[in-house]
């Protein structure tokens, strides 16, 4: 079963074409990694999946993207789409408010009012993001008082709090130290059963460690999309092999 099916997607920023004829099915219940050199379009494609590209002026998209069969660009409710498809950003972006309010913002947005229910969601989300034990005694403290790695895990908890079906992660560990990175990779492996995850990463070891499928991007095209084992052990395309063996990138 696929969560996303992308058909003949082209994306222009003004006159610059950032994505060329992308055709791709992304399997549900798996971790898919997008790899490739800077500027290859992997983050751009990620942002088309929850329509964050709508914010970019002059961004034009043709082709179709469906989420479980529904065309996300034809559907009118972009807020509902973003509830179903959560996102974790490259730079952690906790809101300048308490940890509790950070996590509760999403559920409150979608109509959860009961205090008990919110308490439950906050605890579950923080547990799922493996940060509950570190913050349970200071939920009322500002989220900005957390360390960089904790902030990013809190942002993951915040994304999980609205129970998304898919989680998009845009280089979530690129600004973090190795220990924080390891914690986030571990937590990815624990939440993979409940969510489909798409992770953009510059770090090929990371892709190899956590993902089931890997897609290799080059200059706005998908060169190869296959099981991670195949991509890393016996890529079909010479360019993939060159990139993975470190000949460029």
């Amino acid at each position: 079963m696929n969560c996303f099916e992308i058909k003949d997607l082209n994306l222009h920023y003004g006159t610059f074409q950032a994505l060329h004829h992308i055709n791709m099915d992304i399997a549900a219940g798996e971790i898919t990694a997008f790899i490739g050199p800077s500027g290859c379009g992997k983050s751009t494609l990620l942002k088309t999946l929850n329509r964050m590209n709508d914010l970019v002026e002059g961004c034009k998209i043709t082709g179709s993207v469906t989420l479980y069969g529904e065309d996300i660009y034809a559907a009118s409710d972009v807020n509902l789409l973003r509830k179903r498809v959560g996102m974790v950003f490259q730079r952690s972006n906790p809101f300048p408010m308490s940890i509790y309010d950070n996590i509760a913002f999403g559920p409150r947005t979608h109509g959860v009012k009961s205090r008990l229910e919110l308490d439950r969601i906050v605890e579950e989300s923080l547990r799922a993001a493996a940060i509950w034990d570190e913050v349970k005694d200071r939920l009322k403290k500002s989220a900005l008082s957390l360390s960089g790695g904790q902030q990013q895990r809190m942002c993951i908890a915040r994304a999980l709090a609205v129970s998304p079906e898919v989680l998009l992660m845009d280089e979530p560990t690129s600004a973090l130290d190795p220990i924080s990175t390891e914690k986030i990779e571990e937590l990815l492996l624990t939440v993979r059963e409940k969510y489909s995850i798409i992770i953009v990463t510059h770090n090929m070891q990371q892709a190899a460690r956590v993902s089931d499928k890997t897609a290799f991007f080059l200059t706005g095209e998908v060169v190869e999309h296959d099981s991670t084992e195949t991509i890393f052990a016996m890529p079909h395309d010479q360019r993939t092999e060159d990139y993975i063996t470190g000949r460029f990138g």
Binding site: K83, F89, N93, F105, G106, T109, H110, R158, V162
Partner: protein, 283 residues
């Protein structure tokens, strides 16, 4: 003289020029305080500090004269509070509109308009209010509050807008990515993130409102008695000074200057709370 010495001399000369320029403004502030205190404090002493500050009657031409400025202190506070109640919500909402909603074309029209408001002389605001607001609400506390509320708008809008623009875009994007709509993201994430800047805007608005004189004199009615109702006249400290200074003699004149001392004290408190705010937001 060698070339290097000339350069050195020029450097010294220039730093002296800058020093003098800097001292001039400090000197002005110092002289103002000195003048106010020297002329105002003795009157306060003669009248009695409590009688002066808390006296509910101001009858400078009676025999013997009575100098109680509580009506004017309360008047200033009421009118300023009214201005804040009217000006801050409108100003903040306008700033939200300018910073986060308004299309670029409209912005190019609105922004210079708001900036122009700041440059309009207060006597013109006074005329406007006499012609437009006074027919509806009379020369009253309400009229003065509405007028001041309008007059502080450019201050509030300008500062609140830059506070909103200083909020990192990633807060807004983070809220959108959770499925929050544009307005929910702006009002529940971006606006709270700008709250210290907006508080600063409000405090500066208070400073501007409490010090405003001309426009207030034109529409407030200026009765020197304890404020009784929103729709009755009121006299502020600034109005008190400007109305009576022309004919005041001796103790009366000094009492007016002492009113200036009290006004200065209020401004000082406002400035202190401003720098306290700035320090807090730095942490």
């Amino acid at each position: 003289m060698s070339k290097q010495n000339i350069i050195k001399l020029r450097e010294k000369l220039m730093s002296a020029v800058f020093l003098v320029a800097a001292l001039a403004s400090i000197l002005a502030v110092g002289l103002i305080c000195f003048f106010l205190l020297v002329n105002g404090l003795p009157a306060m002493g003669e009248i009695g500090v409590f009688k002066f500050l808390l006296g509910r009657e101001w009858s400078p031409t009676d025999i013997p004269p009575v100098f109680g400025i509580l009506p004017m202190i309360v008047g200033s506070l009421y009118v300023t509070a009214g201005a804040i109640i009217i000006g801050v919500p409108i100003g903040v909402l306008t700033a939200v509109f300018l910073a986060r909603v308004c299309p670029k074309r409209l912005y190019k029209l609105l922004k210079p308009g708001v900036d122009l408001m700041a440059g309009i002389p207060s006597v013109v605001y006074g005329f406007f209010a006499m012609a437009v607001i006074v027919p509806l609400t009379g020369s009253s506390m309400l009229t003065a509050s509405i007028l001041l509320g309008v007059m502080i708008l450019p201050t509030i809008i300008g500062l609140a807008e830059s506070a909103l623009r200083a909020v990192p875009e990633q807060y807004y994007e983070g809220a959108l990515a959770l499925g929050a709509g544009h307005y929910r993201s702006v009002f529940f994430i971006v606006l709270p993130a700008a709250k210290s800047g907006i508080l600063t805007a409000a405090v500066l608005g208070i400073g501007r409102a409490i010090g405003e004189t001309m426009a207030v004199v034109m529409v407030a009615g200026n009765q020197a008695r304890m404020p009784v109702s929103l729709l009755k006249g009121v006299r502020t400290m600034t109005a008190n000074i400007v109305i009576e200074m022309g004919y005041a003699g001796e103790l009366h004149r000094q009492a007016l200057i002492a009113t200036g001392v009290v006004l200065l004290l209020f401004i000082l408190i406002i400035n202190l709370s401003l720098s306290a705010l700035k320090n807090r937001s730095k942490q």
